[in-house]
C-alpha cells in the first residue's frame, strides 16, 4: 500500500489540496473527495471517455490519470462550465454553449456519457471552432454512448459551434 502524499492542484479555478496515494486516479479524487460526481466511471481503461476532464486545457481520461500527474495542474470538470451569473444570490446559471446545445438538440438519452461528451466537445471547439461532421466524429470517437445517441450528439456539437460563433459575432458588434 502506498503512502498518501499531499497534492495541490486547482479544480474549476479553485485551489485544492488533497491527501492521497500518488497512484490514485484523479476521477476517484474528484468524485469521492471533492464531491464532483459529474465525471463518470464507464470503463477505467481509457476506452469510453465518460470520465473526460480538461487538464491544462487538454482532454484527459481521469480514470487513468494518477493524482501525481495532476499536481500543480488546472483541472476543469463539467461542474465548472456553467457561469454563475454575477449579483445573483439565487444562483441562476448561464449554461456553457456546449451544454446549451446538448440541451437544445437532446444530445443524450440516459445522459450517463453526456458530461464526458461535453468536455470532449469543449476541447474540440476550442481548437477547431467550426468543425465539420467528419471532424466531430473523429474528435469524439474515443467517447462511447451505449444509448447510441450519436446523431443527436453530432447535431449538438454542430449547434454549439454555431452558438459560440454567434456570441463571438454579437460581442464584436457590441465592441
Amino acid at each position: 500500500m502506498s503512502t498518501p502524499i499531499t497534492i495541490q492542484f486547482t479544480v474549476n479555478g479553485k485551489p485544492r489540496e488533497v491527501l492521497s496515494p500518488p497512484e490514485r486516479p484523479l476521477l476517484e479524487v474528484l468524485r469521492e473527495d471533492l464531491a464532483l460526481t459529474g465525471s463518470k466511471y464507464g470503463c477505467g481503461e481509457m476506452q469510453c471517455g465518460a470520465c473526460s476532464v480538461l487538464v491544462d486545457g487538454r482532454r484527459q481520461f481521469s480514470c487513468r490519470m494518477p493524482m501525481s500527474s495532476a499536481a500543480g495542474k488546472a483541472v476543469r470538470t463539467i461542474e465548472g462550465l456553467a457561469k454563475q451569473n454575477a449579483g445573483d444570490q439565487g444562483g441562476t446559471e448561464s449554461l456553457h454553449p456546449v451544454q446549451q446545445a446538448f440541451l437544445d438538440e437532446a444530445g443524450f438519452q440516459c445522459g450517463y456519457c453526456t458530461c464526458g461528451m461535453i468536455m470532449t466537445a469543449v476541447e474540440l471547439l476550442e481548437k477547431t471552432p467550426a468543425p465539420d461532421d467528419a471532424q466531430i466524429s473523429a474528435a469524439m470517437n474515443r467517447n462511447l454512448c451505449r444509448c447510441c445517441a450519436y446523431p443527436n450528439i453530432i447535431a449538438a456539437v454542430r449547434k454549439a459551434a454555431t452558438i459560440a460563433e454567434e456570441s463571438r459575432k454579437s460581442s464584436r458588434e457590441i465592441e
Binding site: 459529474g38 461542474e79 445522459g111 450528439i153
Partner: protein, 717 residues
Amino acid sequence: MKSPAAANDEAMHLSRPLPDDEELVDQVPFHFDVGRRTFLQLLGSGLLIAVSTSEKSNAQERGGRRGGGQAIPVAGRLHIGKDGAITVFTGKVECGQGSRAELTQAAAEELRVAPDRITLLMADTDTVPDDGGTAGSRTTPSTVPAVRAGCAAARDLLIAAAAKTWGSDPAGIVIANGSATSSDGSRHYAYADLAADEAAAQTLGDTVPDDVTLTVIPEWKTLGKPLARPNGPDIVTGTHAYPSDITRPGMLYGHVLRPPAYTAKLVSIDLAAAEAMEGVTVVRDGEFVAVAAPNSWLAREAGAALAKSARWETSPHPASNTLSEHLRTTAHDLPENPHAEETAAAKTTVRETYTIAYVQHAPMEPRAAVAEWGADGKLTVWTGTQMPFRVRSELARAFKVSENSVRVIVPDFGGGFGGKHSGECAVEAARIAKAAGKPVKLRWTREEEFTWAYFRPAAVIEAEASLDVDGKLTSWHFVNINAGGNGIDSPYHCGKKHTRSVGADAPLRHGSYRSLAVTGNTFARECLMDELALAAGTDPLAFRLAHLESGRLRDVLVEAAEKFGFADRWKNKAPSVGVGIACGLDKGSYVAACAEISVSENSIKVNHVCQAYECGKILNPQNLVAQVEGAILMGLGPVLREETTFEGGRITNAAFSRYAVPRFADVPTLDIHLLDRPDLPSVGAGETPLIVVAPAIGNAVFHTTGRRLRDMPLRLG
C-alpha cells in the same frame, strides 16, 4: 446469505426459453437523498395515499394488471398540494428511453396543465404504485393509459368540486391551465382549491374509475408533440445524481471478491491482511466475501489482499469456440421437420443453420447501489434497476425481512436495454452495509459488469423451407435452440408452418435484452427469405410481397423500399456496394429497413440505413426518432463485431478494448420514416426498430459479395 456465485447459478441455467414478460425497455427516476418525511414536506400538504406498501400490491393480485392496471385511488397516482404543486407517481423508471417525458405528457394532457407544472416521481417503492417492471415495451401501451386514467379522474373531481362549490351544472365547466372555469367565465377553481377544500380533497381517495373518459386525439395539446426530457438541465450540468453518484453521510465504498471462473468454489481464504488495514471492514458470509473502506482505492487494495490468499477449485466449463455444437448437442427435444411430404413434393428446399453469439448490454453505467440500514431495521437502497419492486422482493428474501421493511429508490440511471432486471448489486451492497453498520456504495467495475451481469442468449437456429414450381412457399420449419420463441412466428403466407423454441444447457447466465430472441429469429427468417427468393428466381422485395397480406407489415416494407429505392438499387447493382432489405414485427409494432454496405479487406462498412417504422399513434415524435436511431445503431454492434467470448469459465473479452461496441465512426446515414396511425393504439418503440438491422445487412453482404453469412456477428474473414 447466498454467495453471488450460488445466486447466479439459479438464474444462470435458465434452460427454457424466456417468457414474453421477461422482455424490457429502459427507464429511470431520481429523488434520492430525501427521507420520506422530508419528501412529504417537499410535496406540501394535501392528501397522500401510498398504495405500494398496501397489501394489495402483492404480486398475485397484481398479476394480469401489470403496467399500471391495478385499481388504485386517484391520490395513489398523483398528489395535489395546497399550493397547487402536482406530483405524479409511477413505478416506471427512466434510463434513457424517454419514459419521464412521455409519462409527464400523459399526465399534463389529462390534467390540462402545462407539462412543466408536473413533477414526475418515479420508482420509489414506498411512494409509487407498482406499474410493473420497465420492460417489454410496456410503458407506452400500459402505463401511459394508467397515468392518463388517474389524471383524468383527478380532472373530473376538479369539475365535480367546482360544480358543487358554485352549485352549478358540471356540464358547462371548462378546464384549462390547471383551473376550472364556470360557463360564464366569471369564476375559477384551481387544483390548489381542490386540495385546500377538505371535503373535496377526500374525494381524491376514490378509486380511479374504469370508465373514466380520456382526452380524444384531436383535442391533444401535449401528447403527440415533442417534449424534451424534463430533467435535461440536470444532465448537461452534471448535477443529476445517478445511482453511482448517490452519497450518504458516513458512506463507505464496497468491493466484492469475485471467483476467478464461473465454476470456482472457494476452498480457503485468509482475511487477516485485509482486516488489518485501517478503516476496512471485511465481510465473509459463506462464499460471499467483500470489504468496505472509506474510499474505493482502499477498498480495492483490501480486495487485492483477499484475492491473494484465496484458494479456489474450478471445474470444466464449455468454451465459446464450441458454443454452437454445445447448444445443438444439449438441446432438449429437438423436433424433426414434420413436413416431409411437402418437402418431398417441393420444387426446391432450402435448409440452413444460423447462429447468434452471446452479447451484452454493456450499459454505460455499470450496476451500482447504495444501501443504508436505518436504526429501525429498515433497508433503503438506491440502485439502477428496471424492476424496482422485483428488486425489493429480492432484498426482502435475501435478508428475510418483509417487503415493507425495504425501500428501493431508482434514480434515473445510465442505461438498461433489458440488462438491469436483477438486483444482485443491491443485495451485495446491503450485505456489506449490514456488516459495516454504515451506508455502503457498490459500483461494479466494467469487468464485473461484462462477467457477472447476464447476457443476451446465444442461439442456434435451424430452418428449412420449400417452394413449389410457382415459387410459392409450401412448408416452413423453424427451430430456435436456446434463445427463445419471441418473434419466432413467420408473418409470411405459407401452406404449412412449424416453429418451435427449445432449451439447451446454457453455459452463460442469460436474460432479457432489447427485443431479446426476436433479433435472432428475425435475422434467420429474413436471411432465409432472401435465400428462398434466389431459389425462386425473384427479387427479395417481390418475393416478400408475394407472401404478405396487406396490412401494417406490408405498409412499412413498401415504405422503406420506396424511400430507399430498393427495387432499382438491387437490380442495377452499383460496383462494390450491396443493398439488402428485411422486415419484421414485435410487441405490436412494425418495421422494415433497407441497408447499403460496402466491403473492403473483409470488413463490412454500413453506409446507409433507411427504416420505416410504425407503432400506432405517435406520442412524442422527437423521442421516438431518438429511440429508433439508438436501436438501429446499438443493433449494429452484434451484427458487425460484438461477441462475448469465454474459455475455462472466464470471459476473455470483458473490456471495451476487446468487446467493440458501436462508436461515432460506425454511424451510417440514417433515414427514418415514421408512420403515424392515429387510428391505432400507441405501443412501445424502444426495441422493435433493432430487429431488422442484422438481416438487412446480411442480405446486403450477399448482394455485393455473393457470400451468405449465417452467423452473427457477420464475418467475411
